[in-house]
């Protein structure tokens, strides 16, 4: 991999712009033989809460046209187990780690960050304020700009590390929530999380998922994600954006960069191909070759409007 893919999200330098997305790559070490975490720009952990979470009952997932709906309910091992078991190995391997942070109450977000602050080897925090699959916390904070600004400020006060806020595509006012996160002290914005969605079993006349609704991901949501990245980038051109939504190829990643993302997360693609993030790194490099792009940063926000 050449230096031409080197990029940054705000103050955080990355060897390449491709990350593994939260909830699709475990705690960074689960797919080692296919995708060593240190070869990616960064890895984002499964959302971590102060205590382990059991998650939702089943069925939790259903495939839909060019996508899937999940309602996992943030099952995770808890921040303590992550810091004790996974983080030392990630650190030793030299992976760039972003910790995805979740709480049912605002204080729990701070609790997770405070625990992580005692550890070296964490490059950034990504606040999950947009999970559609838990009944308390998360999504409420992500939909109300005033609450989001307050939560972001509480977390900002707890750390000097880069703070990203993962925005909800389900919020009534996307740009409003983006501005609120930035006002609260966010260094970057990740968008988008999954779209609230539903699948129905017509014979049984019931929703397929145990929770009824879940979050849609995969190639089906890419056009929406691109539009949202572009809208937020246009409204807040100085704020770094991490783009995510249905990225399956290097060309998809380039599209997100053009829309204004500084880096790109790969999620659902990992489920069908565990080596997908590395393949996308190679394809993006090839795309730069073919297009005469000397440094990948040239692509960021380079969409030409007609």
């Amino acid at each position: 991999m050449s230096a031409r893919l080197a990029t940054s999200v705000g103050s955080l330098a990355l060897a390449n712009p491709i990350m593994a997305a939260s909830g699709t790559f475990g705690y960074g070490l689960d797919l080692l033989e296919f995708c060593p975490p240190e070869r990616l720009g960064a890895v984002v952990t499964k959302g971590l809460s102060p205590k382990p979470r059991r998650g939702s009952s089943t069925p939790r997932i259903v495939e839909t046209a060019a996508g899937m709906i999940n309602a996992i309910g943030l099952q995770n091992i808890g921040v303590e187990a992550f810091c004790t078991d996974a983080l030392p190995v990630l650190r030793q391997r030299g992976a760039v780690v972003a910790v995805n942070v979740f709480g049912e109450r605002m204080e729990e977000y701070v609790e997770v960050i405070e625990r992580c602050e005692r550890e070296d080897g964490i490059a950034a925090y990504e606040l999950n304020v947009s999970c559609p699959n838990v009944s308390a916390g998360g999504i409420e904070f992500g939909h109300d700009p005033a609450q989001l600004e307050h939560l972001t400020r509480m977390c900002r006060d707890a750390t000097r590390r880069p703070l990203w806020v993962k925005l909800s595509p389900n919020a009534p006012d996307l740009v409003g929530t983006a501005r609120a996160a930035v006002a609260g002290g966010a260094d970057a914005l990740t968008l988008i999380n999954t779209l609230r969605a539903m699948a129905i079993d017509a014979e049984k006349r019931r929703p397929v998922l145990a929770r009824g609704c879940g979050g849609l991901s995969g190639p089906a949501i890419k056009p929406i994600a691109l539009r949202m990245v572009w809208e937020v980038h246009r409204a807040l051109p100085e704020v770094p954006v991490v783009g995510i939504g249905g990225v399956e190829s290097g060309r998809d990643a380039a599209e997100f960069l053009l829309a204004g993302a500084s880096a790109v997360q790969v999620g659902t693609a990992i489920f069908r191909e565990p080596v997908a993030p590395l393949r996308i790194v190679s394809e993006l490099e090839l795309f730069c070759d073919e297009q005469g792009v000397a440094e990948v940063g040239e692509l960021v926000g380079a969409l030409e409007w007609h």
Binding site: F25, D30, R54, P59, R60, E63, I270, F271, R272
Partner: protein, 283 residues
């Protein structure tokens, strides 16, 4: 199962999972809805009965995800291997596989998960399969027959057409000196009724088993769970849950354990000892 040196193993001594390039070597219909797919790997490969693979079924995005199939058998051929799957057409992905041309290239992520324990114990084993739950049970039956372990094979289906691979089942059972018990819901073949009823009849006649190995539709496995618990029998069941990744990262396929935890069936299963499972694990 004998492991040749050219098959790589992971740190835990298990056969390392890989994303294999495979070709469709053969395909044949077994019933109006079920077919056998033989895949040829271009790398050394081995697996234990009960392990599964995630098979791609299209290059495009619909279907998006691979499909999980328990392996029905593996034949080593030098540096290559043939992997056998028994598949029921239930939707678009399996429809595409049914029409995959011989020679077409697919990807198979395998071997995944934990298989059956094939330890013999003091009595014979009872192998129980319902419908398209046959593949891991057939794999186990042929492996047990090859090592001379005694077992009875219970095979149930809705009708005679759903009793697959009867010749192979019969051969494995006679090699093992056991009984092949067939049941159908409609009585078109074997004993009429559920396969669990046939097992209960033999248990009440005094037949003793060291352990039950089972795979089939969830209602059958639920009935089998109650049965073995009632009779104080050990059992290992291969469970089926919707899976996106097959590698333990999506957490879609969780099963509830006796201690209340949800664990991914793809990684901690798909074969679970009944004693590990929650009382009403089927939900």
């Amino acid at each position: 199962m004998a492991k040749a040196p050219e098959v790589s193993h992971n740190g835990a001594g298990m056969i390392a999972r890989r994303d294999l390039a495979v070709r469709v070597a053969a395909r044949s219909d077994l019933s109006p809805t079920c077919f056998r797919l033989t895949l040829q790997t271009e790398e050394p490969f081995d697996a234990v009965p009960g392990q599964f693979g995630m098979l791609s079924c299209s290059d495009g995005f619909d279907p998006l995800l691979r499909r999980a199939f328990s392996l029905a058998g593996v034949s080593r051929r030098g540096n290559n291997a043939e992997v056998e799957l028994l598949i029921k057409e239930v939707g678009k992905g399996t429809m595409l596989l049914r029409h995959a041309a011989v020679g077409s290239a697919l990807r198979l992520l395998a071997p995944l998960g934990n298989g059956f324990s094939l330890d013999p114990g003091p009595h014979r084993l009872a192998l129980v399969a319902g419908g398209i739950g046959l593949p891991p049970v057939l794999f186990a039956a042929e492996a047990l027959a090859a090592r001379g372990t005694q077992f009875d094979l219970y095979l149930g289906g809705a009708s005679a057409a759903e009793l697959l691979e009867l010749k192979r089942c019969g051969r494995a059972v006679s090699r093992a000196g056991g009984e092949l018990v067939l049941t159908t819901d409609d009585g078109s073949r074997g004993e009429q009724g559920f396969i669990t009823a046939a097992l209960v009849r033999r248990l009440s006649e005094g037949r003793a088993y060291s352990r039950v190995l089972g795979c089939g539709p969830t209602p059958m496995l639920a009935a089998l769970t109650l049965l073995v618990r009632g009779h104080g029998l050990e059992a290992e069941l291969s469970l089926e849950e919707p899976m996106a990744c097959g590698m333990g990262v999506c957490l879609g396929c969780v099963v509830e354990l006796a201690d209340g935890r949800y664990v991914p069936a793809c990684k901690e299963g798909p074969v679970f000892p009944v004693s590990r499972l929650a009382a009403g694990w089927w939900g």
